[in-house]
Amino acid sequence: MSDAAVTRPTPSQSLLLRNLAVFAENRLAAGSAILVLIFVALALFAPLIAPQDPNATDLFRRLQPPAWQAGGDWAHVLGCDALGRDILSRIIYGSRVSMLVGATVVFIATSIGILAGLAAGYLGGWVDTIISRTVDILLGFPYLIFAIGLMAMMGAGLGNIILALVYKEWVIPCRVVRAETLATREQEYVEAARALGASNRHIMLREILPNILSPVIVVSTIRMANVIILEASLSFLGLGVQPPTASWGAMVADGRAFIMQAWWVSTFPGLAILLLVLALNVASQGLRDAFDPRFHE
């Protein structure tokens, strides 16, 4: 067997590579993806990157301005909060909460959504009825209000935020997967697998799922931006991660009481949320364009 034969990609691999090449050509989207990766690196290596201990208080540095303003100090580039904690270090550590909640919620919700959507779309009947009615009911709640209601009952904390968001988030990938499965289940290759006696589980997971994964991936990236804003909103309201753990939403809330004298306390964490969410939104639009053949021309 020649080397060329060994390295030749399979049709699905070549499609993936072609789509990724289309994505990379979109400079704005590729740049945004790099920015997202920088945030991932910040979260992963926070202890190595953060210049200060994020929870170390120093009342002599209370509301110290950023380095370029009078009274600022380059050891605390973005200034300090009301307890004299370094804002830059807290932003770097805060990225861990946003990333962790965003990735975990989207991963769990997408996994549940895929299984429920496949079952509803492929099996139909009472399975579809139960899943679809549950989805309809959950869609009857405005997202933030549903999460706030649950957090009110379960109490604040990282684990509860993830649970509260997963409870509703799974319905979105579920709807996408169900619709895609309904369109795919009558395809010839599925019929062929059925004729060969393949089990329902095999058909759903091995035949249908690989062919409907692209839209699910695109939806997941879009949803991650939303989940990050929701987490920040819950933390802003005091229902998220509890002090002294740094989270961007809570940092913005902390600075609200000092907007008259210390603009930097709220501004920089908010800017971090905006940059990450914007980068995720632009990157996901690029992904959608690359993975949807209608946009290739």
């Binding site: 009615r133 549950t134 309809d136 009911i137 959950l138 869609l139 009857g140 709640f141 405005p142 997202y143 933030l144 209000i145 549903f146 706030i148 209601g149 649950l150 957090m151 009110a152 009952m153 379960m154 109490g155 931006a225 804003i229 920040a232 909103s233 802003f236 309201l237 005091g238 229902l239 939403g249 913005v252 809330a253 600075g255 609200r256 907007i259 008259m260 603009w263 709220s266 501004t267 908010g270 949320i273 905006l274 969410v277 914007l278 939104n281 632009v282």
Partner: protein
């Protein structure tokens, strides 16, 4: 759309509303801690009084009976007594509701008045600087966290420029006897332009903050649908007839391009409900959203439960209205 179809759609709402009520009930039922103990707090009560309170609240009954009672009571607007305010929940909510409705309506108006002209202009001047700015603006609009945007507006207009107030619905110096509870209307009805201006200044920043994501979404929808309409044959025909560009845009294109905008606006009005909690907290707006957030911290569960149910029912009804509007405006779509 026939009346039968409308009734059919209304009937379909029933299981969703029931399901929503069950979930809200379960949220409360699964709450750790004993509601009776929360109500009693540090008061000194006997075991008999405690048992009586438990009986009065129906907590000594099985869960399915309590669920049926909850749904029955909710249907008649009876949500029990607030733990914190020691008054009927419905009464406390009714007092705060006008402030939230007023804020939402002004936010909706601001969003519509900004998004539609900008969306049309972006479509008409496709690929121009204006179009690109509108695209960037709409992307920013959906990416900006509302609570942060509100604080930025406060820092600029209230702290730096001193032209708009920081919080509340009205200044301390102004007072108006309520008629409808909507201050913008009440001040006009009382013939007090100074108070009207004061109320307007107070509502401006919260309404802009609340309406921003909606503006971004509506602008994109209007732009896309306007571009689609402008490609239609009847527009080319109108141009061939020699009609003026403005007439074609307003009389022929906009009318059809607005169909999805109106429908999305109805859906997005539902999303304003969630934003209310954030915006009311940032601007100290004394509405239902802030009441809910405050009630969470004092563990006033009946109030939180009633408010969550009210929000959810409103949201379901708004989505229903969006569906109906879309069908009504676009006769090609059948329910």
């Amino acid at each position: 759309m026939s009346l039968t179809k409308l009734v059919e759609r209304l009937v379909q709402l029933v299981p969703v509303l029931l399901g929503v009520s069950v979930i809200v009930f379960l949220m409360m039922a699964m709450t750790p801690g004993d509601p009776v103990q929360i109500m009693i707090g540090d008061q000194n009560v006997s075991a008999a009084q405690e048992a009586q309170l438990r009986h009065d609240l129906g907590l000594d009954r099985p869960a399915y009976e309590r669920l049926a009672l909850f749904i029955g009571h909710a249907a008649t607007g009876n949500f029990g007594e607030s733990f914190y305010y020691k008054r009927p929940v419905a009464q406390v909510i009714a007092e705060r509701l006008p402030a939230t409705i007023e804020l939402s309506v002004v936010a909706l108006l601001i969003a519509l008045m900004t998004a539609i002209p900008l969306g049309v202009l972006a479509a008409v001047k496709k690929n121009s600087v204006l179009d690109k700015l509108a695209t960037v603006g709409s992307l920013l609009g959906v990416s900006l966290p509302g609570f942060w945007f509100g604080i930025l507006l406060l820092m600029l207009f209230a702290v730096q420029l001193h032209i708009l107030p920081v919080s509340g619905r009205m200044g301390f110096a102004t007072s108006i006897k309520p008629i409808t509870g909507f201050l913008l209307i009440d001040t006009l009805l009382r013939g007090d332009p100074a108070a009207f201006l004061d109320a307007l200044k107070h509502i401006l920043l919260p309404a802009i903050t609340l309406g921003l994501p909606m503006t971004a979404v509506l602008m994109r929808v209007t732009r896309t649908s306007m571009l689609e309409v402008l490609r239609q044959d009847y527009i080319t025909f109108a141009e061939a007839k020699g009609l003026s560009r403005t007439r074609i845009l307003i009389r022929h294109a906009l009318k059809n391009a607005l169909i999805p905008t109106v429908s999305v606006a109805a859906i997005e009005t539902g999303s304003l409900l969630g934003g209310n909690m954030i915006v009311e907290t940032v601007f100290g707006w004394p509405g239902l959203g802030r009441l809910v957030v405050d009630s969470i911290f004092v563990r006033d569960y009946p109030l939180v439960q009633a408010a969550v149910l009210l929000y959810a029912v409103t949201y379901v009804l708004l989505n229903f209205v969006a569906d109906i509007l879309y069908t009504f405006l676009n006769p090609r779509v059948k329910l």
